[in-house]
Amino acid sequence: MTVRFEPAGDQGLYVRFEQRIDPAVNRRARRLARRLGEAEAASRGVREAIPSYAAVYVLFDPVRTSHGEVAELCAALLGQLDDRPQDAPRVYRLPVAYGGEFGPDLDDVARHCGLSPDEVVAVHAGTDYFIYFLGFTPGFPFLGGLSPRIAAPRLPTPRTRVPAGSVGIAGHQTGVYPVESPGGWRLIGRTPVPLYDPRRRPPVLLAAGHYLRFEPIEAAAYARIEAECRNGRYQIASEPYARGDAS
């Protein structure tokens, strides 16, 4: 598998794998990032590693080390990675209200894709999405497996505010905004379940290496589940991931 090391400014290095959304590529990125979070890397000046689909951004202390030394460390760690699949992934089932006030860009996405809004919803909710990594805001899952039939580009200029729980599409990616934030994704629905709750331990609901499925609900169910979440009574459903290659 090809790897490139790219300096970023004065305190970063990108380890870049083949740029595609692929669980096997992502597994290497996540596992490299995990090794970079351990004591050996810290002792050599690595402060943090952020895994993503097909890359790891490595933050290092420029006083103690350099781009070149960090690249050498990463190359050594890559040579030691275990490529076996992960055991026992789960599928989290997330209720989502689609369209209308919950998804202001659903009609645009449907038009762009040559489908009806209902067809977009059926395609979107018909897949178990692999959770490649978390990022952007606490607990935000980056998902893979979006059907090319409903891929749509980001907004030309990002919105400065996207409501919490919004479900969006950008290019060939789909995801959920855990908190209100700026964003350039096309919004097609919203979930009432908080994916990040600072009162909860752990505060982040999802984990990379597992799966997420969206289940369409009506506005009335949205309000009911939202109330249950506020009262701390809602439990997200999940089941073992049954088919195909695990992460």
């Binding site: 790219e6 300096p7 970023a8 400014g9 004065d10 305190q11 970063g12 990108y14 870049r16 740029q19 595609r20 959304i21 990032a33 979070g37 402060r47 943090e48 590693a49 952020i50 895994p51 993503s52 689909y53 097909a54 890359a55 790891v56 951004y57 933050l59 420029p62 006083v63 350099s66 781009h67 990594f133 978390l134 990022g135 952007f136 805001t137 606490p138 607990g139 935000f140 980056f142 580009p153 980001r154 030309p156 200029t157 990002p158 400065t160 950008a170 290019g171 060939h172 990616q173 855990p178 908190v179 934030s181 700026p182 350039g184 990040y196 600072p198 982040v204």
Partner: protein, 445 residues
Amino acid sequence: MIEVLEPGLLTTVQDLGRYGHQRYGFSPAGAADPAALILGNRLVGNDPGAAALEITLLGPVLRFTQPAVIAVTGADLGAMLGETPVPVGTVVAAAAGEILRFRGGASGCRAYLCVAGGIDVPPVLGSRSTDLLGRVGGVEGRPLRAGDRLPVGAAHAAAVPGRRLRWTFVAEDPVELRVVLGPQRDHFPDETVEVLASGTYEVLPSSDRTGVRLRGPALARAREEVLSEGQALGAVQVPPDGQPIVLLAGRATVGGYPKLGVVVTPDVARLAQARPGDRVRFRIVTPEEALRIYRDWWSRLHGDEVLAAPGEPDRPIAPADPAPSGAAGGPAQPVAPGERAGAAEGAGRAIVRAPFAGIFYDRPNPQARPYVRPGDRVEAGATVGLIEIMKSFYEVTAERAGMVRAVLVENEQPVEAGQPLLELVGGVAAGEAAEDVEGSTRSSP
């Protein structure tokens, strides 16, 4: 305890950031101008990364319920303790009940209020910084509100009222940002790199802690979307409209707009002081140069030269930033006391000399009158000129009172270290031998 009477435009608790949790989506946050935070903390005797208040443009109104030792660094936003102006970069003591407010300033964007003992809100995941995106840390993950009460920690080192910084941050126009090309350099045609290196960009009002939004020559992209990946501080992000966004401390951990380059950390700190309407330009540097720039900056921030104790005779220091490559003359060499040329020429006469090489200005700005003219009487400590070096301005002051007999250099004249600038007479006690007076340098408020 510090009581918030009015919150100001955007005031948040910040330290040097929350690291180790970006992989779960926790933005590092932290001070947008970490240099100002570090210097302020050092002034009041805190650990360099202690939590402080980051103040944006229009400052808060705060009351100290107990005596506190404080310093304000970064932009001069018109800090007032009671009826007394608080000079930027100087330690002052606030009495119990005293009120700190900000009248506003003409330039710069962010000031830091550092208190001996630090702002003692509960840390979250190892940091007191406020992540406004994730609503984490500081005071409930949000900006300060009227009615907030901020605990102050116990001071653990002797803070010295009157201690001051030896240099100041001066608003620049345009701000020059040194940038390393990448990580998506190959998503852009070569012409775009030329546009970046030659264009002038204006800071837009929609800028915030997540990033500075710029308007200027569009940066054309060769390819469309990229996969979301980790984002560096200072990344030059290019949306489809070609108008770049330079990411600051409050950025999201990952993003999918291509990044043409990453600005070096010291210049991100300077960019954090740009206000809407200010202009920026970019200069491309190599990764190796970027490392050197960072290391020099970091060592100066933590070195001894930046602080002067009250009453300590001023001595010249090396400039704040290393010389940009190709700058004439390179970094100034400090003048050691034994190297000053010229003996006293007679009782009562004193020569003010340049403490290091730079450009001498006889007035605060081109439209103003000169600080002094021959025949003027000056007090001890009065500013008699400026020396510009590496985009910073040092106030040259008279160490003794006297009368200006002659100004020996022209406005905007390059001067060498040790070069005579002014001649003063009088103000020397009878019987005391006149001696050369090293022009003292003092941070300008």
